[in-house]
């Protein structure tokens, strides 16, 4: 009697995989990365290369020698993505060994301690970034000036970011700094100082739209973050500035777009249900604006995401709308 393979239904699969999702996010980051390389030159290339290699290596070493796992997980590309995102959150001219420390902390502390992919409560790249921000505040806030492809890596010209000026305007009410801000158009396309991958809102939005169209992420988190920030900054516009200009700068500068489309939407550390995602996004937007407005740091995206990451188990208590619950 011929026997055939049996297994419970369903016998069909969408063809989706962890690797495909990670790969799509990496590809969606490429437009922003191209802008970075054009703005910051070698610094962008070297920092990202060190970060990605160090993240992958850290994951491999920990799972091979510490956990003694049979199955290696670096093939799922999640470590590559973490490395790339970490690099996107660093100034392009930062010392190589700082990148290395960031990568080891991101993967080692942020991800593998909890049991690897899917188990970590906090976004690993942000764990690495915030660790560096607290440990090396000077180096982490020395921003190379964007001035076209730069061949120097460490000795590039540096300057303040637009958020620094915005903070100053908000605190002192001195609107003379408005002249120091880049034109909104430049802020949109990324001709300004800032972390390696965060400068070009245009490229990041393009990447985000790719992810939404490929159904890798949903609109809920980015839209709720952006809407909250827009509303908050409209209300909190300092005297002497047009609200739409101020809202424009708050949206287009700093880590907002990178965070909204790529960091906050990290599967593992964001809520499951649509309403959970919306509240998560509102929380991030709100906390970030509180830090930007009243905090000591000019930028609060990383902290906002990490704080909301901690709320995810709670937000996952929000049930999706059950069939038959509301309408009859």
């Amino acid at each position: 009697m011929a026997h055939f393979i049996t297994s419970p239904a369903p016998h069909a699969h969408s063809g989706d995989s962890v690797r495909r999702n990670m790969l799509l996010v990496i590809l969606a980051l490429m437009p922003a990365y191209v802008v970075s390389v054009m703005e910051f030159g070698w610094g962008a290339l070297i920092t990202a290369a060190i970060s990605v290699c160090a993240c992958v290596l850290t994951e491999w070493v920990i799972s091979r020698f510490l956990l003694k796992e049979q199955k290696q997980t670096i093939g799922d590309l999640s470590a590559v993505l973490t490395g790339l995102l970490l690099a996107f959150n660093l100034p392009s001219g930062i010392d190589w060994w700082i990148v290395l420390i960031g990568a080891v902390v991101a993967i080692g502390v942020g991800k593998m301690t909890f049991g690897g992919l899917g188990q970590n409560p906090f976004n690993p790249a942000l764990v690495g970034r915030v660790f560096l921000l607290i440990s090396f505040p000077a180096q982490m806030t020395t921003w190379p000036v964007a001035k076209g492809f730069e061949t120097a890596y460490l000795d590039a010209e540096t300057g303040a970011t637009p958020l620094y000026y915005l903070k100053h305007i908000m605190k002192s009410g001195d609107t003379s700094f408005v002249d120091q801000l880049p034109a909104l158009k430049d802020a949109f396309f990324g001709v300004m100082g800032g972390s390696l991958g965060e400068v070009s809102a245009a490229a990041l939005i393009l990447g985000g739209l790719i992810l939404i169209c490929c159904r890798v992420i949903t609109w809920h988190i980015p839209v709720s973050i952006i809407a909250t920030v827009a509303l908050f900054s409209w209300i909190a516009t300092p005297a002497g500035m047009e609200p739409q200009t101020f809202v424009g700068y708050e949206l287009l500068t700093g880590g907002l777009m990178l965070g909204a489309f790529f960091m906050a939407t990290d599967y593992v550390t964001s809520p499951m249900s649509a309403w959970g995602k919306i509240i998560f996004g509102i929380g991030i937007g709100f906390i970030m604006m509180v830090i930007r407005t009243w905090g000591n740091y000019p930028e609060g995206m990383s902290f906002a995401i990490l704080i909301m990451n901690a709320c995810v188990p709670l937000l996952n208590k929000i049930r999706p709308q059950r069939f038959g619950e509301k309408r009859k």
Binding site: F4, V268, T269, S270, R319, R322
Partner: protein, 451 residues
Amino acid sequence: MKTFNIGGVHPHDNKQFSAHQPITECPLPKQAIIPLVQHIGAPAQAVVKEGDKVKVGELLAKAGGFVSANICSPVSGTVTKIGDWTDAWGAPGQAVYIDVQGDEWLPEIDRTPDLIRSCTLEPKAIIDKISAAGIVGLGGACFPTHVKLMPPPGKKAEVLIVNGVECEPYLTCDHQLMLEHGEEIIIGIEILKRALGVDRAIIGIENNKKDAIEHMEKLAHTKLGISVQPLKLKYPQGGEKQLIDACIGRQVPSGALPIEVGAVVDNVATIYAVYEAVQKNKPLISRVMTVTGKQVAKPGNYMVRFGTPVDEVIALAGGVPAGTGKIIGGGPMMGRAMDHTEGMPANKRLSGLLFLPEAESIRPEEDNCIRCGKCVQACPMGLEPYLLQRLSELEMWDECEKHDVMDCIDCGCCVFTCPAHRRLLDGIRPAKAKVGAILRERAAAQAAEKK
């Protein structure tokens, strides 16, 4: 174009292999094996004994309870054995074995192809005929049809929803039936409208069967109260609750039956059987089966008498293709993979046979859950499959109940969509069984307390 509101997935429909293949009569077997469980509910009780001569249409086994169904003989010949039988999945049961002799039918059965349009029977008489004919839902669930036609006291049907969706990939039997026997289906709908006392019937058909939509629209055009509702392609639209939502925008509440929102749903194949039973006195003794797969030599739609060994149906389609890994009874989303085909007969439950090549038969290894929430997005019942599977693993049955595990309709959307290839249903199914048992125990205890 309408569709249901929550979740759903888009598997490739793969209907091209057997679509538009005319329904072909499958030859009679030498021996017929007729299982006594071909429906949901109590097994039927055999009323024949060894050595009895039976004709086609004669009662072999009568319904074993309110929710049960008669089984009539699909062949003529001699009953040789009534005894133990095991299905292709290893489940034990009873079956009637008949040595086939000739093809002699009961005289009251009208075997002419003439259409009989008028039906003046009282609702009660129609339901009795349907019950006597042993008709069950041929869409997959095999719920006895006459039970659906008798709403509990206080409930009133308002609309008959006709399921022509056939959302399972690969299967084309309902599609072909609508194309070839559309008129009979329309008459069947009028009979059911009469039996239920409703003045409205909606035929739901998915948009990948445009010719069936056009054909049925043309036929329904002159009939008062029958309309065709084209539906956007989305699985599991053929699920009863999803189809009601898609057609009339009402959601059946958790744990309730469609009659709660005034709907009764019947599949087109079931309605064709109703036509034959009421107008032609022909009980349910055969059905259309799709035999298909990427490597099947002659995929097609076959009219098969129940009891015919599936091996004979497979032979008609050119035999088991080389490199077959799985043979699935039904479609790829909810069908069951057979261990073997020997001794397995065609029956009311089997809507098709699907052959999957080896490469598509082995489930890939599971990865860690990446908490992407795609299962939550895909679930058409608005459940959280990732959570239910985890709770089931931890045997937290009360939590499973609180998270509405009993609402799961087994459609497989969550597993289909999971990028980490998590076998979510492998955990959710046992949880449903366990919670179901707990609920029954609780109900029994409460009933005892009242006494």
